[in-house]
Subunit: 358 residues, 2 copies
């Protein structure tokens, strides 16, 4: 069966960050976009940004993208399936629970037209003004057909993901929820537990903070209102993971109390193995990288000079981190490069008088 | 009482990463440096790098810096106090336990010459070849005199820290251990618990991994052998924090099971408060920052071009993150800048044809 072309119109329900960005991406590709939102002001804003035009009663979309907050997702999908004969998808962070709501309230013919989705992009910003057509470039976009989803509907949603510059990743709603529980929701919750210990720290204890705690707790700054909805909706998938963590925490506490070094070593080694399991860039296995550290005076122009010199060396920078310093206007910049290129970068930077260390 | 000048010689016991770097920093400042290590090869390497010369029996150091692994720290300090009349300091990650060992084995006159220390730098690399005179630039360096430490000894250790480019932070050994338990050891252990769930993930689940899980688990890649020693030595200070986390985990599990949204909201909000408690650059309160996102083609030269253009805008970059993409050679670079400068940077970059989003 030939894959149906995504020709539009595409209707976006909910013109927040994701909805408006999808509208912008579709407009970028030349598709007609129809915008719907309970808040008429948001529709005007999104339309003004070039994300589409307000939907009118006579419109007949080919595809409806439901992009409303998690709490209202299921009902909005049901409404879209009832109001049109379009394929309907959504962009919510959790897939099984909305799926159940939709299945309970829709007839079989309608249900076939629904294929859930979840672009892994942009969750820390919100609102139409934060939107961009490029938000999804290169990001994974989970596409989660249920048992009775029509294959042509699934293909259409995959086409949407690709049109937005993303990489569609097919999985069931259940697989998705367990995957994001493990790779997004659990990390978020444990980061919150670490950060919670900082809020009520005795005065002066945080003076020794380094890059490590900043990295671990960074995601804990996310919108509590949104995350409350997400973890509640995904409570089922989180249950098993939290139980595993609780059990391992017990093992850890006992091992520390008893000075059981082999048990501690095993736990720490499994942590190292876990960091190596995360996919590297471009989806392949994590290539061996090495970090090159450079002292950089902390004012405009210096970072640019460093990257110009790094660029001149021909070595590709895979990742960058800047360590914060508590008292001196010198920053330590960490350049992560392919292991085999690190020496060349070091020599190149040193020849241009950068203070480096290995 | 006038602060005694640090004129040297400085003896470094243990020519690993920290010891060799301290040697290099002292040489940079023109001090004579004497090197000691059980491994003569390491001494030769460190000496060859310019970190000092091998100690000889007739030498009389002004200050001895003990930089051996945590397990042997206490006994090495005892030996140094017995062998010289120098001030003795160390650079270990945990201070109370070594302090107890030293106090139990040294007479009061010797004990007064001991002031522990802990530079917050470079723990993820090891060995003399990774050393640099600039390793400590702008970093905090905890200086932890005990009850009977001589004030002139304390001043001398503070002078060492400043000479190495660091910022001395005075606190008791106990305060130090509780501080690093909260800001370094607990985050490390919880990152390890998150990473442990990745190592045995069912195939395909990690495909949706984003920057969040990478940030949270990054520190979990640290050397298990070293961390085993550190957390064992600091088990006492970690006990209370782990118990708090265990309790909060119980609250979290119950709240999820019962759908108790207010409890979840409270926990998440305390997480946000915690992220805001971490000191910002230059030691002051964290200034309000905003992130500017730019799509950057992933090959040499592009990052340099971005930073050149960012530099030309005159806006100082406070932090940088590069999101990894699983299938497309486009990276999303996040530039963290002062909130009041973000718009200017955006306009500046957009005028030079960068694809940005807010």
């Amino acid at each position: 069966m030939a894959e149906p072309a995504l020709v539009g119109p595409v209707e976006v329900v909910g013109t927040g960050l994701l909805g408006t960005s999808i509208g912008l991406a579709c407009r970028r590709a030349g598709l007609e976009v129809l915008l719907t939102d309970l808040n008429a002001e948001h529709v005007r804003t999104a339309s003004g940004l070039g994300a589409g035009r307000a939907r009118t009663p006579g419109d007949r979309p080919q595809l409806v993208v439901v992009a409303v907050p998690p709490d209202h997702l299921g009902e909005a999908v049901v409404a879209a399936l009832a109001a049109t004969d379009a394929v309907v998808t959504d962009v919510g962070s959790v897939k099984s629970e909305p799926q159940r709501v939709v299945a309970a309230a829709s007839g079989p013919a309608s249900l076939r037209r629904y294929v859930g989705g979840h672009p892994m992009a942009g969750s820390e910003r919100s609102g139409p003004l934060a939107a961009s057509a490029a938000l999804f470039d290169g990001r994974p976009w989970a596409v989660t057909p249920h048992d009775t989803s029509d294959p042509t509907a699934t293909s259409l949603v995959e086409s949407l993901a690709r049109l937005c510059g993303a990489v569609p990743v097919l999985m069931t709603p259940d697989e998705h929820d367990h995957a994001v529980a493990r790779t997004s929701h659990l990390p978020h919750l444990l980061a919150v537990l670490v950060a919670g210990r900082l809020a009520d720290a005795p005065a002066g204890q945080l003076a020794l903070s380094g890059q490590g705690v900043r990295d671990v707790t960074r995601v804990a700054g996310g919108d509590p209102g949104l995350w409350q909805q997400i973890v509640t909706l995904n409570a089922e998938a989180l249950r098993g993971l939290l139980a595993e963590v609780r059990e391992e925490l017990d093992v850890l506490q006992n091992a520390l109390t008893q000075g059981d070094r082999p048990v501690l070593a095993d736990l720490l080694e499994r942590g190292v193995a876990g960091t190596r399991a995360i996919p590297g860039k471009h989806g392949g296995p994590a290539g061996a990288t090495r970090s090159v550290y450079v002292s950089v005076p902390d004012h405009p122009g210096e970072l640019a000079r460093l990257f110009a010199d790094a660029g001149a060396s021909g070595v590709n920078i895979e990742d960058v981190h800047i360590d914060h310093d508590p008292g001196r206007p010198v920053g330590l910049v960490e350049l992560v490069v392919d292991e085999t290129r690190a020496e060349h970068l070091l020599e190149s930077l040193e020849s241009r008088d950068w203070v480096t260390h290995r």
